[in-house]
């Protein structure tokens, strides 16, 4: 009669492990946790802070969604995505900034003085053109070698930003990047800029969703699973890989253009390899082949980054390191217990 005594109920640890492995639950908790965190921050720090947070989130969300198309859906583990982000930001800076009055005349660069909305498509196109060139080379590689090659691209891109001083002013960076402007209306208010970023984020998410739910998206997944079999069934996989690579890079270029205009200052330090690694971590944390996961990952990352500032007893010089340690630990834990990420269904 005493059946309960013989069958031991699962320990708290076991139940915890079970919860981690099951889909749904953890994703829900993570959503509630991250969004709750964002709400608490807003209430605590005020709307002005939330607007900044929202803008940074939109930019990182565009980046992570675009990278997920390549890493999560197509299975090309690229750690060089930051290069296209940088091309977008520098494109915006070079095309719109007026540096002629600067004291540092020695580092003068060509003046174009284009308005924001004329420069943005050029940023996107520039990233796309760069992606075609890089992608044609990258298509020769796969798996581990692909990671290394994309690593090389990130390093090359950073060094171009740093060293091509006639165009980028090197380490001085480019100040006075323009804010969006239509006629006499200038989106110098933070809320207007946030609205613009939200619109672009929605467009990027819309395009991404449209692509991954099409036949094209299914072929991308097939390439991720077994490229050779996809070929045997009649798909010229190199074109598919190149197409998604270019689309993804153009989205990153868009994010870069927005970033340049948002911060009004562009310098090479925003495009170091480490940032690229953080971006890959966001995508994996959020969940491979999950657009929702990438949005969640970007939000968690931005909260983590901005939230660290408010830990008053933490010396400011350690904030960057602590942020990376936290992300690193989360990544290791997640890979151990839930390799498909918070919202994803796929493993690397």
């Amino acid at each position: 009669m005493n059946g309960n005594a013989t069958t031991a109920s699962p320990s708290l640890f076991e139940r915890g492990m079970l919860m981690l492995r099951e889909k749904g639950d953890l994703e829900l908790y993570a959503n509630v946790f991250v969004i709750g965190w964002a709400v608490i921050f807003t209430l605590w720090q005020g709307v002005g802070f939330a607007v900044t947070l929202g803008t940074v989130f939109c930019i990182w969300a565009i980046l992570s969604v675009s990278l997920n198309l390549v890493v999560g859906y197509t299975g090309l583990l690229s750690v060089g995505h930051i290069g296209f982000f940088g091309i977008g930001a520098y494109g915006m800076a070079i095309l719109t900034s007026d540096t002629s009055y600067e004291l540092l005349r020695t580092e003068s660069i060509p003046q174009f003085g284009l308005p924001f909305f004329a420069a943005l498509p050029i940023c996107v196109l520039a990233a796309g053109v760069a992606a075609v060139v890089v992608g044609v080379v990258f298509n020769r590689f796969r798996d581990d070698i692909y990671v290394l090659v994309s690593f090389g691209f990130a390093i090359i891109a950073f060094n171009v930003f740093l060293s091509w001083r006639a165009l980028t002013r090197g380490a001085y960076g480019i100040p006075d990047v323009q804010r969006p402007q239509i006629g006499s209306w200038v989106a110098d208010g933070e809320i207007e800029f946030l609205a613009l970023c939200v619109v672009f984020l929605l467009i990027v998410v819309g395009i991404s969703w449209f692509l991954v739910s099409s036949s094209f998206g299914r072929v991308l997944k097939a390439i991720r699973e077994d490229e050779q079999v996809a070929q045997v069934f009649g798909y010229q996989t190199t074109y598919y890989k190149l197409a998604i690579w270019v689309i993804s890079a153009m989205m990153a270029g868009l994010a870069g253009g927005l970033l340049g205009s948002f911060t009004t200052f562009v310098d090479p330090n925003s495009f170091i390899l480490l940032e690229s690694m953080l971006l890959v971590s966001i995508v994996i944390l959020g969940g491979l082949a999950s657009i929702r996961g990438s949005l969640l990952g970007a939000l968690a990352f931005v909260l983590l980054e901005e939230g660290m500032r408010f830990i008053t007893y933490l010396p400011s010089e350690f904030i960057g390191q602590v942020r990376q340690v936290v992300l690193g630990v989360m990544l290791v834990l997640l890979m151990l217990f839930r390799p498909q990420g918070l919202a994803g269904r796929y493993k690397l």
């Binding site: 072929v219 997944k221 097939a222 991720r224 079999v229 070929q231 045997v232 069934f233 009649g234 269904r345």
Partner: protein
């Protein structure tokens, strides 16, 4: 290069002429010349390491061949690209089952059916004709109930069935199956046999590799025997399997 025992010469489907493939200097296939007739079922037999799978990989562009020519219907090729395989009227399965593991059974089928053109495929959603075909094949191979499962979660036998189904979804002339019977339970074995007969009864060519001589005898009309990378014999099944050199080489008796 000698042309030996070419059955139904005027109706050849696939013909290899002097095909050679070496891995690091070791010849996996050496000057192989034979014909796979367009009619009926052809089995490729030979001991382990005789080059059967290599041969299938060459015919479907999975591996490039070093020398020789492959004639498919009336076209000659000295290079075969994997992505042109369906255009050549050929599809295949793999010895070690290769499904798209982290995709559903349904998506595994749909990949084979959808548009092969890059830009149209971006706007193509699932079409009813594709869905109907996928449903028909999945029911035929008995995997309809499993359509929502991830292919990687299926049992070995189910994976074999799905892979054959995936090949069947492609409307081509020649179906090359690399060891479709290996490691299957008797029930499953009958099912796969029936599928092969179904394909043949639609007027299509079935080529399969097998070690099971009972099945080879039962199913195939023609047989091609390879031995250590060389073409040994080809012809009608009963005729070939009773030859002393085949018995010696292959059955080891």
């Amino acid at each position: 290069m000698t042309s030996r025992n070419v059955a139904h010469d005027e109706y050849y489907g696939i013909q290899t002429i002097g095909v050679t493939k070496a891995f690091d200097g070791v010849k996996a296939l050496d000057d192989v010349t034979f014909t796979i007739p367009i009619f009926g079922m052809t089995s490729i037999v030979g001991p382990n390491g005789s080059g059967k799978s290599t041969l299938v990989n060459l015919l479907t562009g999975v591996l490039p061949f070093d020398e020789g020519i492959v004639k498919i219907e009336t076209n000659s090729f000295s290079v075969i690209h994997a992505h042109e395989t369906p255009d050549h009227g050929i599809t295949r399965t793999f010895q070690e089952v290769r499904l798209f593991d982290q995709m559903t059974v349904w998506d595994n089928m749909m990949v084979v059916l959808t548009n092969r053109k890059l830009f149209p495929s971006m706007i193509e959603r699932s079409k009813s004709e594709h869905r109907d075909k996928a449903e028909e094949i999945l029911k035929q191979v008995g995997m309809w109930e499993k359509r929502e499962s991830m292919a990687g979660e299926l049992s070995y036998g189910q994976r074999k069935l799905l892979e054959i189904g995936r090949a069947m979804a492609l409307d081509v002339q020649v179906y090359i199956l690399d060891e479709p019977f290996a490691g299957l339970f008797p029930q499953m074995l009958e099912r796969v046999k029936d599928l092969l007969r179904d394909i043949r009864s639609n007027g299509r060519t079935v080529v399969f590799i097998s070690h099971n001589m009972d099945i080879v005898r039962e199913l195939s009309d023609h047989i091609i025997v390879l031995e250590s990378g060389k073409f040994l014999l080809a012809g009608e099944v009963e005729d070939i399997l009773n030859r002393p050199e085949v018995i010696r080489a292959y059955l080891g008796a």
